[in-house]
C-alpha cells in the first residue's frame, strides 16, 4: 500500500513537474508557440485526470514529506483545472496582443506545479519550496510584457515584496522549529497538543509569521498592498490565475496549518484571523467602489473574497474547512471567468479595461454581457448562483462556532460589494454604447474557458451538494 501511495498518490506531482521541465525543452526545440500551447493544455488535462485517479490513495510519501490523496488530490484537480482554463484563455489573448512566447506556457506549468506541491506539503520545508516555485513563476509572469512599463512594474513590485515575505515565511518556519524541534506537521501537532514545548512564545511568534506570509500570498488586509498594482499590470489572464488558483493555493497551505496550530493557540490565533478577515472584507469592498479600472476593481474585491474564505478557517471546524474548500473552488470559476472575459475584450494591452468601456456591452455582445452579469451576480452572492452557497456555508460555519458578529460583518461587506458589482452590470445593460466601438470579438479557445466557468457557476449553484459532499470528505 505504501508503494501504491508513493507511486499513485504522488503521481500528479511527478507528472506536472516532469511535464513542466519537458515543456522547457519543447520550447527550446520548437519555434512555434502553438506547439507549446498544445503541449501545455494536454499536460494540464492529463494532470487533472491523474489527480482524480489519485484521490483514494490517502497517506504520506517520501518519509512523510508529502501528503497524498483526498485533500491534496482535490486541490491538485482544482489547480490543474485553473491552469487549464488559464492556458486556453491565454492563447488567443497573447496571439491578439502579438506577444506569444513559448515560455509563458512553461512558466504557467511551473506555477501550477508549485501550487500542487503546496497542497501536498506535509512538512514546512516542502511548503516553502512549493510557495517559492509558485511565486517565482508568478513574478516572471506578472512582468511578462517586458516592453510595457506597467507590467514590468508589477513584476518588480511583486518580486521585491514577495522576496521579503519569503523571509518572513522562512523565519516563521525556523521559530516553529525552535519551539517544537520538528518541521513535520504531525510532529508539530503532537508537540503542541502534548505541551512538550521548549519555548511556547516562539511558537506563537512563529505561527504569527506564517500567518503574515500566507496572508500576503492570499492578499489579505493589511498585507494586500501589492495586489492592486500587480493585478493591474500583469497580463489579464495571469491576473486571473494569480487571484484565483494562487489564492486557493495560499488557503490550501492555511488549512493544514490551522489543524496544526489551532489546538494550541486557538484563542489567540482565532481572534487574530477573525480581525484580519473582518478588515479584509470591509476594506476590499469599500475601496473597490471607487475603482474605475475593472482589473483594479476585481483586485480589491479579491481582497474581500480572501477575507470571506478566511471566515471558514476562523470557524476552525470541519464545516468551516469544507466551506473554505467550497468557496475557493467556486471562487476560482467565477473570478477566473470575469478576468478571462475582461481579457477577451482587451484588444490591446491595457485598453478597454475601464468600466466605462463596458457601457452598452449588452447591445454589442449580448452573450458576453450576459456571462459577465452572471459572474458579477455570483460574486455578489445572489442565489441561486454558486457564490451564494459559498458564502452561505461560510456563514453557517461561522455561526456554528459562535462568530455571529463575523457573519454579520460578512453580510454587510456583501451589500457593499453589491454596489460595485452592480455598477458593472449597470454599465453593460443600462447605458447605451458610444459610437466608436468595435463589433466583433474573436474569443477563440477562451470561449471554452468561459463556457466551463459559467457552467460551473450554475452547476454548483443549483446542485451545491455535489461539491460540498466531496469537500466534507476531506476533513
Amino acid at each position: 500500500m505504501s508503494r501504491d501511495i508513493a507511486l499513485w498518490g504522488a503521481l500528479p506531482i511527478y507528472f506536472i513537474s516532469a511535464w513542466a521541465v519537458i515543456s522547457l525543452l519543447v520550447d527550446a526545440f520548437s519555434k512555434n508557440s502553438r506547439v507549446s500551447f498544445h503541449f501545455a493544455w494536454i499536460g494540464l488535462l492529463l494532470t487533472a485526470i491523474a489527480a482524480v485517479g489519485s484521490f483514494p490513495y490517502e497517506g504520506a510519501a517520501f518519509s512523510g514529506m508529502i501528503a497524498t490523496g483526498h485533500y491534496a488530490a482535490f486541490f491538485d484537480v482544482l489547480f490543474a483545472i485553473g491552469g487549464l482554463l488559464t492556458v486556453l484563455a491565454a492563447h488567443p489573448y497573447l496571439e491578439r496582443l502579438q506577444f506569444e512566447l513559448d515560455e509563458f506556457y512553461s512558466l504557467t506549468l511551473f506555477a501550477i506545479a508549485g501550487m500542487m506541491l503546496i497542497a501536498h506539503a506535509n512538512n514546512l520545508l516542502v511548503l516553502f519550496i512549493g510557495i517559492e516555485v509558485m511565486s517565482i513563476s508568478f513574478y516572471i509572469l506578472a512582468g511578462y510584457f517586458r516592453n510595457k512599463t506597467l507590467s514590468v512594474e508589477a513584476g518588480i513590485k511583486y518580486f521585491l515584496l514577495g522576496a521579503f515575505m519569503s523571509g518572513f515565511l522562512m523565519y516563521g518556519i525556523a521559530l516553529v522549529y525552535g519551539a517544537t524541534a520538528s518541521l513535520h506537521y504531525g510532529a508539530i501537532l503532537h508537540a503542541t497538543t502534548t505541551g512538550s514545548l521548549s519555548f511556547p512564545t516562539l511558537l506563537i511568534i512563529g505561527a504569527t509569521f506564517l500567518v503574515i506570509a500566507l496572508s500576503f500570498k492570499a492578499a489579505l488586509f493589511p498585507f494586500h498592498f501589492w495586489a492592486p498594482d500587480v493585478y493591474q499590470g500583469a497580463p489579464t489572464v495571469v491576473t486571473g490565475l494569480m487571484s484565483t488558483a494562487g489564492k486557493a493555493a495560499a488557503f490550501a497551505a492555511f488549512l493544514p496549518l490551522a489543524f496544526v496550530f489551532l489546538p494550541q493557540l486557538q484563542i489567540k490565533l482565532q481572534l487574530l484571523l477573525a480581525i484580519i478577515a473582518a478588515l479584509s472584507m470591509l476594506y476590499g469592498n469599500i475601496v473597490a467602489i471607487t475603482q474605475q479600472n475593472i482589473k483594479r476593481m476585481l483586485a480589491y474585491s479579491s481582497i474581500a473574497h480572501a477575507g470571506y474564505i478566511l471566515i471558514g478557517i476562523v470557524a476552525a471546524s470541519p464545516d468551516g474547512f469544507a466551506a473554505v474548500t467550497f468557496y475557493a473552488t467556486v471562487y476560482l470559476f467565477m473570478q477566473l471567468g470575469a478576468f478571462v472575459l475582461a481579457s477577451v475584450l482587451e484588444q490591446q494591452y491595457g485598453r478597454h479595461l475601464e468600466i466605462q468601456d463596458y457601457k452598452g456591452l449588452y447591445q454589442r455582445h449580448p452573450l458576453l454581457a450576459g456571462l459577465m452579469a452572471v459572474f458579477m451576480f455570483s460574486l455578489t452572492g445572489v442565489p441561486p448562483l454558486a457564490g451564494f452557497f459559498g458564502k452561505y456555508y461560510l456563514f453557517v460555519a461561522a455561526i456554528e462556532s459562535g462568530f455571529v458578529w463575523l457573519a454579520i460583518l460578512g453580510v454587510v461587506a456583501s451589500v457593499i460589494s453589491a454596489y460595485f458589482y452592480l455598477g458593472l452590470v449597470v454599465a453593460m445593460f443600462f447605458h447605451t454604447a458610444p459610437e466608436s466601438s468595435e463589433s466583433s470579438v474573436p474569443a477563440g479557445t477562451a470561449g471554452i474557458t468561459l463556457a466551463i466557468s459559467t457552467l460551473m457557476t450554475f452547476l454548483f449553484g443549483f446542485f451545491p451538494s455535489l461539491l460540498l459532499h466531496v469537500a466534507q470528505q476531506l476533513f
Binding site: P384, Y392, E400, G402, V404, I408, V411, V415, F430
Partner: protein
C-alpha cells in the same frame, strides 16, 4: 401535486423557451409569454379545486432532498394564505404582459424573460416551505426587477434600480444570518435544518431575549419590502421610474412578499417576540398610513400619488397583522389581495394615460370624461375600491383590519384605530382629488381634446380586475374562507403565548425583558447547541413553557 409543480415551473419554462427564440420575432415572443402566463393561471386554478379550506396543514406538500448534509430540501406546499397570493400572482402577471404589449418597445426578448422569471420567483416565495429555498426565491426576484427598472424605466432609472436592489439586499442578508441561526438551533444534533415545519415547532422555544433579535432581522427584511415607514424611501423612486407593467407587478405582488413574510415567519416562528414588538410595528404602520396619505395629498405627479397611497394602504395590512386577532389577520390577507388588484389597476390606468399624453402631471389633465368615458368609469372603480367605498373590495379589508386592531388584546387600545381611520378619510381626499382632477372639470387642454378611448387590449386588462373588485366587495366569503382556518390557528397560537406571558408576568413580577445589551451576548462565541439542549431539558414535556423558559433564559444570560 402536479398542479403546484406546473404553477411553479411553467413561468420558468416560458422564460427558457423565449431564450431560444429569435429576437426579431417580436409578436411571437409576446404571445409565447402571454401563453405561458395564461397556462400558469389555469394551472393555479386547478390548485383551487383540490384545496380543502378546513384543513390547517400545508397541502400539495412536496419534499425532495436538495442539500442532504444541511437538511435543506426542495419543500413546497400551500395553505390558504399562500393559495390566495399565488392566485393573485398568476392573475396579475398575464395582465401585466398585456399592458407590456404597449409599454415595452425595445429588447422584448430580455424583457419577457425577466417578467416570467419574476413570476417564477414570486410564486416560489409563496410556496416555499424551506427557509433556504425561500431565501433563494426571495433573491431571485431581485435580479429581474432590477433589470426591468434599470433598462425599461424612466430618466432616473439607474438610481432607482440600484436603490431598490441595495435596500432589499441589505435586509435580506441580515435575514440570512437569522435563517442560519435558527437553522442551527432547530437542527439540534443533526447540525442544521431548513425545514420550515420543524422550525415552526421549535423556534417559539428560543429564549425571548434572542427571539427579539431574530425577529428584528426578519422584520427588517420584510419591512423594507412592504415598505413600512421609515424604510419606504426606495418605493416612490422605484415606482416612478419603473415602466407601467413593472409598477403593476411591484405594487400588485412584490410588496405582498413582505407582508406575507411577516405572517409566515415573524408571527409563526417568534410569537413571543411578535407580541413584544406589536406596539412598535403597529405604531410604524399607523405612521405609514398617515404619512403616506399626507404625502399623496400634495403630489402633482399622478404616479407618485399612487405610489405613496401604497405606503398608506400597506400600513393597514401591517396593522391588521400585528393586531394578531383572527379578524385582523384575515383583513390583512384580504387587503393584500385588494391592494394588489386596486392599486395594480390604478397603475394600469396611469400607464394608459401616459401612453396617450406622455405626462403624468395632474395639471395637464381635466375633463377626460368627455373624450374617454369608458376609461372614466373603470378608473372610478379602481379609485373607489382603493378609497374603501362599501360595496367594493377595499372596504372589506380596511374594515376587518381596523376591527381586529380595535379588539386586539395585545395592542389593547383604540388609539391605533383612531389614527388609522384618519387615514381612510385622507385616502378618500387624495384619491378623489386625483379622480376629480383627471376626469371632471372642463376639458381645457387642447392636447386632451382628441384622446382615443380605451382600446380592446386595454379593456382586456381592466375589466377582469374590475370583476374581482366587485366580487370581493359584495361577497368576500369566497376568498375569506380559504385562509380562515390558517389565520385562526395563527391567532390562537399567539393568544396562547400571550396568556402565558402575562401569567408569567404576574407570577414572577419581573417586567418583560427589554432589548438589553446583555442579550447581545449571543453574538459572541457560545455553544448554540448546548444552549438548545439545556433548553430542551428545562422544558417539561407537558409544557407550561413560558415560566420555565424565562428561567432558562436568565440562567443562560448569567453564564
Amino acid at each position: 401535486m402536479a398542479a403546484l409543480i406546473l404553477t411553479l415551473f411553467l413561468p420558468l419554462l416560458g422564460a427558457g423557451t423565449i431564450l431560444f427564440m429569435n429576437k426579431t420575432q417580436q409578436k411571437g415572443i409576446q404571445y409565447t409569454a402571454l401563453g405561458f402566463a395564461l397556462a400558469t393561471f389555469v394551472a393555479s386554478l386547478f390548485l383551487l379545486f383540490g384545496f380543502d379550506p378546513a384543513n390547517a396543514d400545508f397541502q400539495y406538500y412536496i419534499h425532495t432532498t436538495w442539500i442532504a448534509s444541511l437538511d435543506v430540501g426542495f419543500r413546497i406546499g400551500i395553505d390558504g394564505m399562500s393559495l390566495l397570493l399565488v392566485l393573485l400572482t398568476t392573475f396579475i402577471t398575464p395582465i401585466t404582459i398585456l399592458s407590456s404589449f404597449q409599454a415595452i418597445k425595445d429588447r422584448d426578448k430580455l424583457y419577457y424573460m425577466m417578467l416570467l422569471l419574476l413570476e417564477f420567483g414570486m410564486i416560489g416565495v409563496f410556496v416555499a416551505l424551506d427557509t433556504i429555498l425561500f431565501y433563494v426565491f426571495w433573491e431571485i426576484i431581485l435580479i429581474p426587477m432590477y433589470f426591468i427598472i434599470g433598462i425599461w424605466g424612466g430618466p432616473r432609472r439607474i438610481y432607482a434600480a440600484i436603490k431598490f436592489f441595495l435596500y432589499t439586499f441589505i435586509g435580506s442578508l441580515l435575514m440570512l444570518v437569522a435563517i442560519i441561526w435558527i437553522g442551527i438551533w432547530g437542527g439540534g444534533d443533526a447540525g442544521f435544518t431548513a425545514n420550515y415545519l420543524t422550525l415552526r415547532e421549535i423556534a417559539p422555544t428560543i429564549p425571548l431575549a434572542i427571539q427579539q433579535w431574530l425577529f428584528l432581522a426578519f422584520a427588517l427584511s420584510f419591512a423594507i419590502k412592504v415598505p413600512l415607514f421609515p424604510f419606504h424611501t426606495w418605493l416612490p423612486d422605484a415606482h416612478v421610474e419603473a415602466p407601467t407593467p413593472g409598477s403593476v407587478i411591484l405594487a400588485g405582488i412584490l410588496l405582498k412578499l413582505g407582508t406575507y413574510g411577516l405572517i409566515r415567519y415573524n408571527l409563526e416562528l417568534f410569537p413571543q417576540a411578535s407580541i413584544f414588538f406589536a406596539p412598535l410595528l403597529s405604531t410604524l404602520a399607523v405612521i405609514g398610513i398617515i404619512y403616506g396619505a399626507l404625502v399623496a395629498l400634495v403630489q402633482s405627479d399622478v404616479k407618485k400619488l399612487v405610489a405613496y397611497s401604497s405606503v398608506s394602504h400597506l400600513g393597514f395590512i401591517v396593522l391588521g397583522i400585528f393586531s394578531m386577532t383572527t379578524e385582523g389577520l384575515q383583513g390583512a390577507v384580504i387587503q393584500m389581495i385588494n391592494h394588489g388588484l386596486s392599486t395594480g389597476m390604478l397603475f394600469l390606468c396611469v400607464g394608459i394615460l401616459y401612453e396617450r399624453r406622455h405626462t403624468r402631471e395632474l395639471a395637464e389633465y381635466g375633463g377626460i370624461v368627455t373624450v374617454m368615458p369608458k376609461f372614466a368609469v373603470l378608473l372610478g372603480f379602481a379609485v373607489f375600491a382603493s378609497a374603501g367605498l362599501p360595496g367594493l373590495n377595499g372596504f372589506v379589508g380596511e374594515f376587518l383590519t381596523m376591527l381586529g386592531a380595535y379588539q386586539s388584546p395585545i395592542l389593547g387600545t383604540w388609539t391605533y384605530v383612531a389614527f388609522a381611520a384618519l387615514g381612510v378619510i385622507l385616502a378618500a381626499a387624495y384619491l378623489l382629488r386625483m379622480y376629480n382632477g383627471v376626469i371632471f372639470g372642463p376639458n381645457l387642454n387642447p392636447k386632451n381634446h382628441a384622446l382615443p378611448d380605451l382600446t380592446k387590449l386595454e379593456l382586456w386588462q381592466l375589466v377582469p380586475v374590475t370583476v374581482f373588485l366587485v366580487w370581493i366587495g359584495i361577497y368576500p366569503s369566497t376568498f375569506l374562507q380559504l385562509s380562515e382556518t390558517n389565520m385562526r390557528l395563527v391567532s390562537s397560537k399567539i393568544e396562547a403565548a400571550h396568556q402565558q406571558m402575562s401569567q408569567e408576568h404576574r407570577v414572577s413580577s419581573t417586567s418583560q425583558p427589554l432589548l438589553s445589551p446583555t442579550s447581545l451576548s449571543f453574538l459572541l462565541p457560545q455553544e448554540i447547541k448546548n444552549m438548545h439542549k439545556q433548553q430542551q431539558r428545562e422544558l417539561p414535556a407537558n409544557g407550561n413553557g413560558a415560566a420555565q423558559q424565562q428561567m432558562s433564559d436568565e440562567e443562560w444570560m448569567q453564564e
